[in-house]
């Protein structure tokens, strides 16, 4: 394939460019072209490993991404990191222009929005903890609806009596709300500062930070095989109640 030969040349170019570190219009590194082509073409965000696999060896993917991101920051299309993945998105200030492209989605109820926020800021969290914060029992459908959006996922089980399921947010949640990580949740600092993130601890205690890290916390057990079938089985609540 002719492209193989081209690939080699590209690598050489890259090295030179990396040396002077000046993204001159003429001397724009070929890997930026490759990166933008890949990211433009992809239907879903790509992580650095996926990108690296497609790029010639020796390309510093992270550096190239940063350079590309800087180039696109002032444009109508921006390169953004969502979760651990990268994707092009229209600039957020241009939503007025693009209303026609808006996809009609099911609106979440107030209860669902609040529950989702508590899950996001408080994860990993159990259903009972959500109910405690909201001061009301969750209606049967609320967690179902959130699971259906794909924004909320089951994480594991709390090492506590009854071993309740723990909930957290998914990668899709970050993608949807354009967040790099849950640490970037808006208002998180204020919430932490006011000591409002742990129901059991008074404000002067250290407050846990929400984490959607797949690694389970010390007080979490992994899901059991039957838990993982939930998507095909009855709604999570039902099972939890058993």
């Amino acid at each position: 394939m002719p492209s193989a030969a081209k690939k080699l040349v590209i690598v050489k170019n890259d090295d030179q460019d990396n040396d002077d570190k000046t993204p001159e219009p003429k001397a724009r590194a070929e890997e930026l072209r490759l990166l933008e082509a890949l990211l433009f073409a992809a239907a879903t965000p790509l992580d650095e490993a996926q990108l690296a696999r497609r790029l010639p060896n020796g390309v510093n993917v992270r550096d190239a991404l940063m350079q590309l991101k800087a180039e696109y920051d002032s444009r109508g299309v921006n390169l953004v990191r969502v979760g651990k993945k990268w994707t092009f998105r229209t600039a957020s200030d241009l939503s007025w222009l693009l209303t026609k492209f808006t996809k009609e989605t099911k609106k979440l109820s107030r209860a669902a929005v609040e529950t989702m926020a508590i899950i996001a800021y408080h994860q990993p969290v159990t259903r009972a903890e959500v109910e405690e914060i909201r001061g009301v029992a969750a209606s049967p459908g609320t967690f179902d609806v959130l699971m259906e959006t794909g924004w909320v996922r089951l994480r594991g089980r709390r090492k506590a009596p009854g071993r309740p399921l723990t909930y957290g947010t998914s990668e899709k949640f970050l993608e949807h709300f354009g967040l790099e990580e849950v640490g970037d949740l808006p208002g998180l600092e204020e919430l932490r500062g006011a000591g409002l993130l742990d129901p059991r601890l008074p404000p002067e205690f250290a407050v846990p930070v929400p984490s959607d890290d797949n690694a389970l916390r010390e007080d979490e057990d992994p899901l059991e095989p039957s838990d993982l079938d939930l998507s095909l089985g009855p709604p999570p609540e039902r099972i939890e109640e058993k």
Partner: protein, 298 residues
């Protein structure tokens, strides 16, 4: 709906916040009758519009128009109890949650009004009041961040991905699967199949009477002349091992044909060649063996 106004004004979040607010309103609106909506807000007792007693308390707290940290829990307890009282007068059914909260607040109120006594269970009435204020602040804080979160540019609502992503063309390189076992089974099965098939052919080296008869019928049908049966049959005797079966079967079949009047058979002498011909014009069953000596097949 002025009840909910404080909440609305408190969420000073980005424009998209209106969406969630609208959600909230519509959720509440569902539970409101027209009659209630048009009546004086102060008289509206719409418990169903609230997401539980804490939500109701939060709304009532907002009417105090002070920072939640400076709120008078005593006054709030009074407000709540009045609200519940009003609801009960209207014979509205209240969820147990609301009544439990009412009972708890009544208890709290009595404790707060009493002069501070010696520590009983460790928790003072002031501690309990603080804990309640903390819960209210926390609920409100989560509401605020929920609104902020929903106010963020959302995918496919405010920000968009590539409308026409270019598919990554997949060139599928076939990875063929077959195991050594597949290979060996395939080999042995077909080798045996053909070998055993040949063995069966060997067993069929007997010439059946039916086969012999069919051959003879074809033979005498071809000509009305006397035909040397063995000469014809010899063409079948490719394999010398078949001589016996061919001769035996054909002789038996020939006799059968003669008996049925289909054919005539003729032999000059013992062990001489057999001649055979189709019998014409004679009724069946009148078979005559012309040859005087008994026909012998050898």
């Amino acid at each position: 709906m002025s009840d909910n106004e404080p909440q609305a004004s408190q969420d000073n979040a980005p424009p998209s916040e209106t969406v969630t607010e609208a959600d909230f309103d519509s959720a509440i609106a569902q539970t409101l009758t027209d009659e209630r909506a048009s009546s004086d807000p102060a008289l509206v007792v719409d418990v169903e519009g609230f997401e539980g007693p804490l939500d109701l308390l939060l709304m009532l707290a907002r009417t105090q128009k002070v920072d939640l940290s400076k709120i008078s829990i005593l006054a709030l307890a009074d407000q709540y109890l009045q609200f519940i009282e009003a609801a009960r007068k209207l014979r509205l059914e209240l969820a147990a949650d609301y009544l439990v909260m009412a009972a708890w607040l009544a208890y709290l109120k009595s404790r707060l009004l009493l002069p501070r006594t010696a520590e009983e269970g460790g928790q003072t009435a002031e501690d309990m009041a603080l804990a309640l204020a903390h819960r209210l602040r926390r609920l409100e804080a989560f509401r605020n961040v929920a609104a902020q979160l929903m106010g963020r540019p959302q995918y496919d609502r405010d920000v968009f991905g590539r409308g026409a992503p270019e598919p990554i063309e997949e060139v599928k390189n076939a990875e063929w699967s077959a195991t050594l076992y597949d290979l060996l089974t395939a080999y042995t099965v077909q080798r045996q199949h053909s070998t055993l098939a040949r063995v069966r052919f060997a067993k069929r080296k007997a010439w059946s009477l039916a086969e012999a008869r069919a051959a003879l019928e074809r033979l005498i049908g071809q000509t009305a002349d006397w035909t040397r049966v063995d000469e014809y049959l010899l063409t079948y005797l490719v394999d010398p091992s078949m001589t016996a079966t061919v001769v035996a079967s054909s002789f038996a079949s020939a006799l059968e044909l003669v008996r049925e009047g289909e054919a005539e058979i003729h032999q000059r002498q013992a062990f001489a060649p057999l001649f055979m011909r189709k019998r014409v014009g004679v009724g069946a069953g009148q078979a005559v063996v012309e040859a005087t000596p008994a026909a012998q097949g050898g």
